[in-house]
Amino acid sequence: MTDTMIELKELTKIYPGTDVPAVESLTMDIPRGEIVVFVGPSGCGKTTSLKMINRIIEPTSGQIILDGEDVTDVDPDLLRRRIGYVIQQIGLFPHIRIGDNVATVPNLLGWDKERTRARVDELLDIVGLDPDIYRERYPKELSGGQRQRIGVARALAADPPVLLMDEPFGAIDPITRTRLQNEFLRLQDELQKTIVFVTHDIDEAIKMGDRIAILEQKSIPAQFATPEEILTAPANEFVEDFVGAGATLKRLKLTRIREIDIVGDCLTGSITEDKTTLRRKLDDSDWTALLLLDEEHRPIRWLRAPDFRQDRPVDQMGLPAVAFVEPNATLSDALEEMLIGSAGVAIVIDSRGKFQGLLDIDTIINSIQLMRDKSAEFYRAEKLIDPAEVAG
């Protein structure tokens, strides 16, 4: 049994003056410490569902259980101080300095000045903004990305166990968005908050979610599963359509390099060795090229047999090594590096730049093949149940 942090039971919202519910009988268990993403087409009720959790929108019926406690009827103001809240528009208080914006919830909770001040500085540090520079500034003096960081810091101020995020990176340019997403995932690795995250962007959902709820109209879950399951085994046509073309490519974003076998025993040489030794190494091996490493074991150049005819120092022969990736990177990142560097292989290095191994394009193709086989198996299983369809 998984440890459930938020339990939604038969949650329904019917707006006054309408007959059709915006959210109909949503039941869902949200596990502790995970990011659950609500994703769906606009108007599907995903935001309404999110906002019922902290009762910014009061449910018409149903129950909300937070960490085992029924909070459906508790004082909403007190409830909200226990739940971090980030919205797309951020909603920083324009007339209040950044530091005091972040201190909003601590002030509501009556923390003393020292503690609040220390916490504000800590949070500004965490989100990568120097407290001494930004504490006394006003929101209008910040860029969009910086404001969103402050929005996150403000939501984390009183260290709430739960965070609700409504398209938090939706209004930010793509480059900054990617950076903020990565920063936030790194932060979440440490914080282990329970997060409900709303987006309309399936790619963002796949990237951010430990689990994804794909919602149809009236917030009815079409599938509630891990990103891997959703990509390889979509529950129905709606999910398939929503995930869209390129599910395989998206799947590449889910596989990390450290999860697959890389070539570790390839031919390397050290810059400390002389030209003749290197030449003999290459001639004696089955490899067409040798990867030259520096004293720190960092890859610097590719050397092939004809390069040794040139009368140059070893570290200027051949071609510079390109397409570096870390084991934490995804296959999609590796593929991109290869394409950018026009290289057939990506060089895997650790965080200090030390050589770990090679990842060639065949390995990635095999990995894709494997996914397709799995997925094909899934569909074959479907068809065997209904032989008529196979005949048709």
Binding site: L79, I87, I90, G91, H95, L108
Partner: protein
Amino acid sequence: MADTDLASTSAAADQGSGGRRDDQRSPIGAFVHYFGMPIFLALVLLALYLWIQGQDLGVVEERNLRLDRLLAITRAHVELTIYSSVIVLLLAIPLGIIATRPKAKNIAPAIIGLGNAGQAIPSLGLLGLIFYVARTTDLLPSTGAVPAVIALVAYSFLPILRNTMVGLQQVDAFVLEAGRGMGMSNARVLRKLELPLAVPVILAGIRTALVLNVGTATIVFLTGGDGLGRVIFSGFQLQRTTVLVTGSVLVAVLALLIDHIAGVIEDVLTPKGL
């Protein structure tokens, strides 16, 4: 002279705010912004004084243009303006707040209707009606400043009410949602977010009301109150141009000065960061 007194008050107000905006305006720009109007008005008054000195004044003029009399009348005019403005503030701002609360949706049109009526009825006509009511009932005195203050309050009610409402309504809904979402109570959202963010618009309404009241206060002499209207009217009645011009220039200078002071106060009270 009346002017020196008032000019120095405005200079004091200016100094209070002089340093704040230095980062946004060049020193010369700031000086012109804060002192240009007072200096211009002082020059106008000086010109008026010199012009009067050059006139051949008769007994009537001498009596009407005595400095202590002009001072007393100007002072009465200012007091009337301020009293009526304070009363209207105390009425219109709370009503404006009430009218924008979701719970008071039903009474909002009534409040706005009241404000509209107050401004639509010409103040002179309103003063007549108040005078009539005062005469036929014993509810209020029919002479002096009281009927006039009522007329002024009714007349300047709308700008402050409307600006309070608009000011509160223009506050970014997402700022309020963020506040609510972090657990601020409705009262706290009003106090800490809505009102501070509505201040610039509310102040603009107060400024409008003050200027309206300076002008409308010229009619109080009709019910026997004091004010610069008396000087102007005497000038008309007695066909004394000097008296007429003096009263008219004084009321114009007063209106411009009050507008300027209100503008400076707007600068000072507008929250930083907006």
